[in-house]
């Protein structure tokens, strides 16, 4: 079994604890019992819209620091956020260049750390290092756990639940680094939704951006919300009961933006929350009370189903 280290990032623990609970539940003893542990010294990935945008040296250093922690434990990083994925994955690519690695290690030495990558075992005298692997939760669910196992554990009937899947840009692009899914026709989250027994509905401009990324939400929130509004109009037209995403920042954007343009809104959740729901968790543990858009309509439909 692949050893993983949880990387929850900043948004989940501090805004959507229900997502953290669901992920731990799905990956833990009550779920698929993966080999995954916490590394308490992790910091912010750091967030690409701020650090990668303003000073790449600082971004790479802070990301490398996180990577050394996983490296020392010989674990793959399991991210639950598209932003953390893109930031850490890009950093491992940068560190493949010996010049970058040398520069980073000269500064990391000030805090007693060194990035080498993980040494492969049993390769003779010459040690071969592999970059620290960074995985997205959706990728781990699809490739490590498998859709059949997900389907086998889905006991709560979700058949009547119509789900609009939103992938989020940094799950798909840039394809220079991200090669998890087909960037033009991604399928993984849809398949997990279907394996959970729910129905994934198609809608117009499904692959469009939620509007939050790159600092747009922080800088011109009206612009970010206007992009979200377009998405929500299309999602509502498809008759979806909820929006499911793999990214907590997209979740935050859908959740917060909707109150600016609609009264009720469409409930939004992370794919791990839907999985936990399908696997029979008590909905109270999903932490929906921290979401701005109430999940009542969805839960009512579930009870009726």
């Amino acid at each position: 079994m692949t050893p993983y280290a949880y990387f929850f990032g900043c948004v989940i623990p501090n805004r959507y604890p229900g997502v953290e609970y669901s992920v731990r539940w799905v990956c833990g003893k009550e779920g698929f019992d993966l080999d995954v542990k916490d590394i308490n010294e992790f910091s912010c990935c750091p967030v690409p819209g701020i650090f990668y945008s303003t000073d790449k040296d600082t971004w790479l250093l802070l990301a490398s620091r996180n990577l050394t922690l996983a490296q020392n434990e010989r674990r793959e990083i399991l991210t639950v956020c598209n932003g953390c994925l893109t930031s850490l994955l890009k950093a491992t690519e940068y560190l493949q260049d010996p010049k970058n690695m040398g520069k980073v290690n000269r500064t990391l030495a000030q805090v007693g750390r060194k990035y080498t990558g993980i040494a492969k075992k049993g390769e003779g005298k010459r040690r071969v290092f592999e970059p620290v692997k960074v995985r997205h939760y959706v990728e781990v669910m699809t490739k490590e756990v498998g859709l059949e196992a997900i389907a086998a554990r889905a006991k709560r009937p979700l058949k009547n639940i119509r789900v609009a899947v939103h992938y989020g840009c940094h799950y798909l692009r840039p394809t220079e680094h991200q090669t998890i899914d087909d960037p033009n026709d991604p399928v993984m989250i849809d398949r997990i939704v279907e394996a959970c027994g729910a129905t994934s509905v198609d809608y117009e401009d499904k692959l469009d951006c939620c509007g939050a990324g790159g600092g747009v939400r922080s800088h011109v929130v009206e612009l970010a919300n206007s992009l979200t509004q377009d998405k929500c109009t299309n999602i509502a037209a498809a008759g979806a009961d909820c929006i499911v995403t793999g990214c907590p920042f997209c979740l935050l954007q859908f959740d917060n933006a909707q109150k600016t343009f609609s009264k009720d809104g469409i409930p939004v959740m992370h794919i791990s929350q839907l999985q936990a729901l399908a696997m029979g968790i008590d909905p109270i543990s999903l932490g929906f009370d921290t979401h701005h858009v109430s999940a009542h309509s969805l839960l009512r439909k579930l009870r009726g189903a």
Binding site: C10, P17, N40, C44, P46, H170, L223, L227
Partner: protein, 192 residues
């Protein structure tokens, strides 16, 4: 007019139309090189095909046309490009559709690097960086959420552990080493 358009009334295009004539004093011939220094590819090789604008979700909404910005970079129109608000969502669609492999999103990121070095620092950058220095996370902890964590039976956020002080110290040392604290003006937060 929608809210988004209103916030962008003083757009790039309007500014150019208003002033009509651009004289040589506004052009910086070294601008393309400066962009490359911060990781952008050579903007001079842009074909001006417009694919980037066509796929840009922001270009659909407001007066922000990726192709035009790349063109202004070629001219070396510093003030116009650096004055652009940070509205690129870094969705990287332009990168996927660029036949010249310019990666316009990375050009926008290089422009932000230059803007910050000219003192044009949006407040949210300072806030996020300050949070990182104080809490190790760019999102500020919320006591209400901490309560719900407890109710759910989750442990305290790990950045609250007393041992996390060593992590904060490491972060401060690294941020100080790259002079990032000075660059964005958060020196008083970073104690090394």
């Amino acid at each position: 007019m929608g809210e988004a358009e209103k916030t962008f009334l003083s757009g790039l295009h309007e500014k150019l139309v208003e002033e009509k004539v651009i004289d040589e004093s506004q052009l910086d011939p070294g601008f393309a090189k400066e962009i490359a220094k911060y990781g952008g590819k050579d903007v001079m090789t842009c074909l001006q095909c417009g694919n980037c604008t066509g796929v840009c979700p922001i270009s659909l909404k407001i007066d922000y046309k990726t192709r035009s910005i790349i063109k202004y970079c070629q001219f070396g129109l510093r003030t116009y490009t650096l004055g652009t608000r940070w509205v690129c969502a870094t969705c990287y669609r332009c990168y996927e559709h660029c036949p010249a492999d310019i990666n316009p999103a990375e050009v926008m990121i290089a422009l932000r690097h230059i803007a910050v070095r000219e003192g044009n620092i949006p407040p949210f950058v300072k806030i996020a960086a300050t949070n990182l220095v104080k809490y190790g996370q760019s999102v500020k902890p919320d006591p209400e959420i901490d309560k719900i964590r407890k109710e759910l039976g989750l442990d305290e956020v790990h950045s609250k552990h007393p041992e996390y002080k060593t992590v904060l110290r490491e972060i401060a040392v690294l941020i100080h080493a790259t002079k990032y604290d000075k660059l964005i003006g958060i020196e008083e937060e970073v104690k090394v």
